[in-house]
């Protein structure tokens, strides 16, 4: 009886099944999805390697610290200090900055941290990918490498200025990066300088693109002058600034204040291209409103009233909105919030006016008061103002701080950093915000970082 169950038919069937089983071990191997590229092949072709780098520029433009949207530093640090006041409902995140009520799980601050380290990861992946690539030409490699090092330094610079001691990340290995410790601020600066110096040696002299949207040797040098200034290395700061100012064929102050922020302004050293042709800056969308009361933000009257009435920057860069009874002001450096047939403005990160102010400050500190006033007055004259009446070193430095406020308002948090550098943050801000305390000079390290990496503890004081 039993044997009849296993006649020839069944044996064949079982054999076929067995065959099926053995032949199918490769069934579960799948090809790469269409939307993804192997990490090695990305760096075997200039176009894809370049795309891996340019993506970092679009990320810097669209999110994190330097973005022009309302969560970026330009708006939030403006609220935090004395440039901007918030409007609207409590859902407007700026109220927390304006009231200096920042908590460790503040979503904007967490985003500064996470988005920036994500950008740094992408840069490190580019750097490692380029170094491993045997196919890309040396020229392509040095250019991309130079850009990546420059941006890495730039991002760490902003991080150290808002968070204090921070990890300096140079590798992609997450096993190491997840347990990193905070580096003392001075060492962070050393790393920034070293990255910028390497990038200067690698980057081409000319912009590699027709618009000033890709870093060149000058871009890195201009930024290095700011870094030296923050480090109080005044000789190096003024030398770097001079090397930019002296290239008058390339850079010159735009004498018409209405044209300073236009796309082809010769004052621009580095700007971020808009996402779409015809699109203008995110800053314009954030700051401009056409009727009052404003829904999200307006310029702090404190700032507006500090301008001299004859200051051309007040009339060019600030617009007054009134409903008949009340008056509000908005930043008007960027004037185009809508699409235009071709883009008129890009978001500027570095411009020549700052180089003059850097050199003025560096010269003042070195005792070159005449040189300092010369640079300061260059900026004042462009604004239609008479020369500064400051005479002593202290007066000149005060005048420079004041001038920086007028010149650089709503540009990526200059005011906050300047007040800190001049040790005036407590006196200036607590005069207008009783809630201010001295610990507020540093933002809190995001809660999640403190939770997941004990090496980042302790939290900044006061949080």
């Amino acid at each position: 009886m039993k044997t009849s169950y296993f006649n020839g038919k069944q044996f064949i069937l079982i054999a076929v099944l067995q065959l099926l089983i053995n032949s199918c071990d490769s069934f579960v191997e799948v090809d790469l999805p269409k939307s993804q590229l192997n990490n090695v092949s990305v760096f075997e072709d200039y176009a894809t390697a370049n795309a891996a780098l340019t993506d970092v520029y679009s990320k810097i433009r669209d999110k994190g610290m330097l973005t022009g949207i309302d969560t970026g530093l330009s708006n939030e640090l403006g609220n935090y200090t004395d440039e901007i006041i918030p409007f609207g409902t409590p859902s407007n995140s700026s109220f927390n900055f304006y009231n200096t009520n920042l908590l460790a799980d503040n979503p904007e601050i967490t985003e500064y941290w996470n988005a920036t380290y994500n950008q740094i990861y992408a840069l490190n992946a580019v750097i490692e990918g380029l170094e491993a690539s045997t196919i890309l030409s040396e020229k392509n490699k040095t250019q991309l490498l130079g850009e990546a090092l420059f941006v890495r330094g730039l991002l760490h610079f902003y991080l150290v200025n808002i968070f204090g001691d921070i990890p300096y990340i140079k590798i992609t290995d997450y096993n190491k990066n997840k347990i990193v410790s905070r580096l003392p601020t001075a060492l962070v600066y050393q790393n920034i300088v070293s990255d910028l110096e390497s990038s200067i040696s690698l980057l081409p002299y000319n912009y590699s693109s027709s618009e000033r949207i890709r870093p060149s040797k000058n871009v890195a040098n201009a930024f290095l002058s700011r870094v030296y200034l923050y480090m109080k290395s005044y000789v190096e700061a003024s030398n770097s600034a001079s090397s930019i100012i002296n290239q008058s064929e390339l850079f010159e102050l735009e004498q018409n204040t209405d044209k300073v922020f236009l796309l082809n302004s010769k004052e621009t050293i580095w700007q971020l291209q808009s996402s779409e042709p015809g699109q203008n800056t995110l800053e314009a969308i954030t700051f401009i409103f056409e009727s009052g009361p404003p829904l999200m933000l307006a310029l702090n009257t404190n700032l507006v009233q500090s301008f001299s009435t004859t200051d051309l920057r007040k009339s060019s860069w600030i617009k007054t909105i009134s409903d008949g009874t009340s008056t509000w002001y908005h930043a008007y450096k960027y004037k185009e919030q809508n699409f235009t047939s071709v883009s008129k403005e890009y978001s500027i990160i570095l411009r020549l006016a700052e180089q003059y102010l850097i050199r003025a400050e560096a010269r003042a500190h070195q005792g070159d008061l005449i040189g300092a006033k010369e640079d300061l007055n260059t900026i004042r004259r462009r604004a239609g103002l008479e020369d500064s009446s400051a005479t002593t070193q202290l007066e000149i430095l005060d005048a420079i701080l004041q001038e920086r406020r007028w010149e650089l308002f709503t540009e990526h948090g200059h005011r906050f950093f300047d007040l800190k550098r001049f040790n005036k943050i407590d006196s200036v801000i607590s005069a207008i915000k009783p809630g201010w305390n001295t610990n507020d000079a540093l933002l809190p390290i995001p809660q999640n970082e403190i939770s997941t990496n004990p090496n980042l503890r302790p939290q900044n004081p006061g949080y």
Partner: protein
């Protein structure tokens, strides 16, 4: 049990019982057929009526003993006709009744009265996926509901039908907006990954992927992205079986760890062609609002807040500075979520067929409007076809079923629940006298601006399956199952310029449209061999099979921005700029070999071995394959001679199982180191970004499951109870480990050497309290006690989870600050300073834990029949804690719960809540933040809910061919809870709660 309802609903069980009988008798038929044919003489036509003593019984199977080809089924009047031979013997069977053996003895009219048999429920064959098993002989834990339970519920989602009805299955509804999702956990959370706890779904044996088909930029109305499970039509379901323990799930190997949900669609039945039409209509409303402040209470709070802060009104404090009418009052909850949605439902089916071929075709159409302002509607319709065929020699069987469902959903883009709770009660009116949206000179964001932003989706879904089987020789059957699924969805969300306050002067040049096109299709082939053989007193069943599955998912997310007019917004071609945000096509391949050996000795000792070898494309080389196996055993004590004739104990069984299952829900391609396209454009180049931190070496998550259960039936099973104790231990956790942002990402997929234990006790009780001709009453109870525990986690302290989990505690805990009370001097909340450093610091002072896992949950169902009336109601209960609704600090320009009127004002005040502030007092703001992360924010959210009640009446038409039934049904009818902040059933706060639905309907059968 309620025997009446079997008349109408038990039809679906015909084929189960039929096939059961056929299977159990088939070998003896084959042996005896030759002898039978020798004794043939002349044909003989018999007829008769089958009744239960009072009413005729349709759908009863009348077959002739030892002749497989001759059988029939009684019609709607209980009548049958059959060709026999005068000396044949009839076998008359119907589920829930004792099978009768009636010799014809030459009669031409054979009327039969069937006797109700509670024990027969043990004869029901339960679907265990690759095989079926008699209820009394099963070795695994399988919970089950049938169409009888589903039909009483006015719901559209398959998971809703199971809520409160199954032990060990905890289901939470995420939102009351139609088309929203449900959260299901079978025997607790096994995986640290929140998204790694979904069970495996199979529809008629075809795996149905439950991974989201939505996109968070389009389905903004829901707390979670769109689930494909909405496509399943509850009306087409015959039964749902949930496989829970190792014995039942190990045969699903790597996908069985979180349980398996088997959905069986309705099948055609032999007999007279039956038409059935079901129409119902009803309403849905929000059952419970939060108690919020009215205008005078609100303004008193605001004024007090300014007084407390010592500051004057700012220009933007419109609610208090006189800009807005201070006498105005709007109940925003009533205005924004207090509407009534109208629901209508129509179903029709035709079924019938011959003894060898049966068919069923059904269609349904459902519409549901919204409780929000505006005209929004959810529509769902579909068709189901089923065909069964058996060859003349009974060796070949074919089953084909296909279901096609369409959904069209039109909803506002945003849920109004949050606005309805936070808007100041004196906020301006919604419309101007001209009927336009009122912006009150730009001083507020009118909540109805969100009506201009719409979410629309259309989904079509096809599931088709054919099963062919052939009996090669007696006892040996080969079977092939071929399945195909195809799903396509298009979702759009508009963000027109009219969404913004006109003071921004935003034009349609900034309007945008988000678009999600997702398609998923899969095929499955499952060849199988079954062999069964009677060996002495025992029966051996062997099954061997394999699975090949391939699933392709394609996704395209786009945004179009800039239109010349908002009326063109749906035309992507009219957009000035079109950006592809994401475009991908992923492939998931899966293969497995599985087997089962079952030996049943003398209906007393049963042993069941199952195993599976699985391979999945979701893992890198070397990690793709793994083995899973389980052993189950049962001892039917009641079949032992020493107990067999007990007067009170009618059934007793002990069963136990142990085995392993796995989990591969990790997403596709996670082991690859790749770059992906981004939507970012710069310098003429579309960007490429590193897709993830990669880890090539992760593998399966495994669960070891142990179960011991006792099943007892008393008094002929009129009282039947089961108790199951289980323990699941899941290790090698496959997780997105949270990483510090300094790594560049916030998660990394990897295996974590942590073990999670779920232990619990599941009790069920079925009682036929009363069973008479005119009145029956039965009760079903299910009760689950469950405890989840993180058993081990080497290096937890130094891991990224150190502020999320605690060893020895459940996964679903919150680590909290410890609330001390209000400082009588400052009026500010105070917290325990655990490390005594004089300030509240994280993480040192955040050490208290609260468990949000339900302690126990279950349901009590009662079914009553009096003559033609049927009443069925279910109470669902959950003992749990949950968060209070976070309203932010009191005193800001946002409404607050009424209870916050009890706030501290002057020193020595004793108040429940701290001092008001406008946001100016940062100590108060910080304290509010800590309060919402302290034990004070966790409250009792237990509830008892009259989940479902259904009343029906069978009209006394006295027409033989037509039956008419009127029904009144309600879902979420009443809720009893101490929870103050709205409905206690939610996973994320601020979304529409489950609606209270009431419908009335009529069912015609002819």
């Amino acid at each position: 049990m309620n025997n009446f309802s079997f008349y109408k609903d038990g039809k679906a069980l015909y084929c189960l019982i039929l096939s059961g009988i056929l299977l159990s008798f088939s070998s003896s038929f084959a042996r005896n057929s030759v002898q039978q044919f020798k004794s043939t003489f002349q044909q003989h036509q018999i007829q008769g009526t089958i009744s239960d003593g009072s009413d005729p019984m349709p759908g009863v199977t009348i077959s002739i003993k030892s002749k497989t080809n001759s059988s029939t089924i009684s019609d709607y009047n209980g009548q049958y006709k059959l060709s026999t031979f005068p000396n044949d013997t009839l076998v008359i069977s119907y589920i829930g009744f004792k099978t009768l053996i009636v010799p014809i003895n030459g009669r031409q009219i054979v009327d039969v009265k069937l006797i109700y048999d509670t024990t027969a429920l043990q004869e029901v064959r339960i679907n265990a996926g690759y095989y079926s098993v008699k209820e009394s002989e099963r070795t695994g834990n399988i919970a089950r509901i049938t169409s009888k339970d589903i039909e009483t519920q006015p719901v559209t989602n398959v998971l809703a039908t199971m809520q409160g009805r199954m032990a060990g299955v905890n289901i939470i509804q995420n939102t009351g907006v139609p088309g929203g999702g449900f959260d299901i956990k079978i025997r607790g959370q096994n995986s640290i990954r929140a998204e790694g706890n979904a069970p495996l779904y199979l529809i008629d044996g075809v795996p149905y992927a439950s991974e989201t088909i939505g996109y968070n930029q389009t389905a903004t109305i829901y707390p979670t992205t769109t689930s494909p499970l909405n496509s399943i039509n509850p009306d087409s379901i015959e039964s749902i079986e949930v496989l829970k323990d190792a014995d039942a799930t190990a045969i699903y190997g790597s996908r069985g760890a979180n349980g398996v949900v088997l959905i069986t669609t309705k099948k055609g039945k032999a007999g007279k062609t039956t038409f059935r039409v079901n129409a119902s209509t009803g309403t849905g409303t929000v059952g419970k609002f939060m108690k919020l402040m009215d205008t005078s209470q609100y303004l008193a709070m605001r004024n007090q807040a300014f007084q407390n802060d010592g500051i004057p009104f700012n220009s933007w404090d419109y609610d208090v500075n006189g800009t807005w009418d201070q006498n105005r009052y709007t109940n925003w909850q009533k205005e924004l979520i207090g509407g009534t949605s109208s629901i209508s439902d129509l179903q029709a089916s035709i079924s019938g067929g011959s003894e060898r071929t049966q068919f069923l075709i059904s269609s349904s159409y459902h519409t549901e409007s919204t409780v929000f302002p505006g005209d929004f509607i959810y529509k769902k319709g579909g068709s189901q076809i089923n065909l069964n065929h058996r060859s003349e020699d009974n060796k070949f069987n074919l089953t084909f079923s296909a279901g096609y469902n369409l959904q069209n959903n039109d909803q506002p883009a945003f849920d109004f629940t949050f606005d309805s709770r936070s808007l100041p009660p004196n906020a301006p009116k919604l419309y101007t006298s001209q009927g336009d949206l009122n912006w009150e000179n730009g001083t507020w964001d009118n909540p109805l601006r969100n009506l201009n932003a719409k979410f629309e989706s259309s989904t079509n879904d096809l599931v088709a399956n054919s099963v062919l089987s052939y009996e090669l020789i007696s006892g040996l059957t080969i079977k092939g199952s071929f399945g195909y699924t195809s799903l396509n969805t298009t979702e759009t969300r508009t963000a027109p310029s009219s969404l913004f306050n006109p003071i921004y002067n935003i034009t349609s040049a900034n309007s945008s449209l988000y678009l999600n096109n997702t398609g998923r299709s899969s095929w499955t082939i499952e060849p199988q061999i079954n062999w069964e053989k009677q060996i002495g007193l025992g029966k051996l069943e062997i099954l061997f099979g394999s699975t090949f599955q391939s699933q392709t998912t394609s996704r395209l997310f786009q945004i179009g921005t800039g239109y010349s007019s908002n009326s063109l917004i749906y035309n992507l071609g009219s957009a000035n700029y079109i950006k592809v945000l994401f475009n991908d096509e992923t492939l998931y391949k899966y293969q497995a070999f599985f087997g089962r050996i079952n030996y049943n000795f003398n209906q007393r000792y049963i042993i069941n071995l199952t195993g599976r070898r699985d391979g999945s494309s979701r893992f890198g080389s070397g990690n793709q394959f793994a083995n899973f196996a389980a052993i189950g055993a049962a001892w039917l004590i009641s079949n032992e001679n020493f107990i067999k004739n007990s007067s009170w104990l009618s059934f007793a069984k002990i069963r136990s199982s142990y085995g392993t299952t796995g989990n591969d829900q990790i997403g596709d391609y996670q082991f690859l180191n790749t770059y992906s396209n981004t939507s970012g454009k710069y310098d003429g180049t579309i960007g490429l970004e590193p897709t993830r931190l990669y880890n090539a070496n992760f593998g399966w998550e495994t669960s070891k499951k142990l179960e011991v259960a006792l099943e007892l039936g008393f008094f002929k099973d009129r009282l039947f109870t089961t108790a199951s104790w289980y323990q699941n231990r899941s290790s090698n956790q496959l997780v997105g480990v949270p990483l510090p942002g300094t790594t560049g990402f916030t998660v990394l997929q990897s295996n974590l050497d942590a073990t999670i234990q779920n232990r619990g006790l599941e009790l069920t009780l079925r009682a036929n309290n009363f069973s008479r001709e005119n009145f029956t009453w039965s009760t079903n109870l299910n009760l689950t006690f469950a405890r989840n525990k993180l058993l081990s986690f080497p290096g937890l302290e130094s891991s990224t989870y150190n502020q999320q989990y605690r060893i020895g505690q459940p996964l679903n805990i919150e680590i909290l600050y410890q609330y001390k009370g209000i400082n009588p001097q400052t009026g500010i909340y105070e917290f325990e300073d655990i490390n005594k450093d004089g300030k509240i610091t994280f993480p040192e002072d955040r050490q208290k834990t609260a468990d949000l896992t339900p302690k126990y949950y279950g349901g009590i169902q009662n079914q009553l029949r009096y003559k033609r009336w049927n009443l069925d109601f279910l109470f669902q209960f959950v003992k749990q804690k949950n968060h209070i609704y976070p309203m932010g600090f009191a005193g800001q320009m946002s409404n607050q719960p009424k209870v916050k009127m009890d706030s501290w004002q002057v020193p020595t005040d004793i108040a429940e809540y701290q001092i008001y502030t406008t946001g100016y007092n940062s100590d108060v703001v910080t304290a509010e933040y800590l309060y919402n992360r302290s034990d004070a924010s966790i409250t009792d959210a237990s509830y008892i809910r009259l989940k479902n009640i259904s009343l029906s009446y069978q009209l006394p038409l006295n027409l033989n061919a037509i039956q008419c039934k009127i029904t009144l049904q309600s879902q979420n009818t009443l809720t009893f809870t101490k929870y103050k902040d709205g409905d206690p059933e939610f996973t994320s706060a601020g979304y529409l709660p489950p609606l209270r639905v009431i419908t009335a309907g009529v069912q015609l059968t002819f």
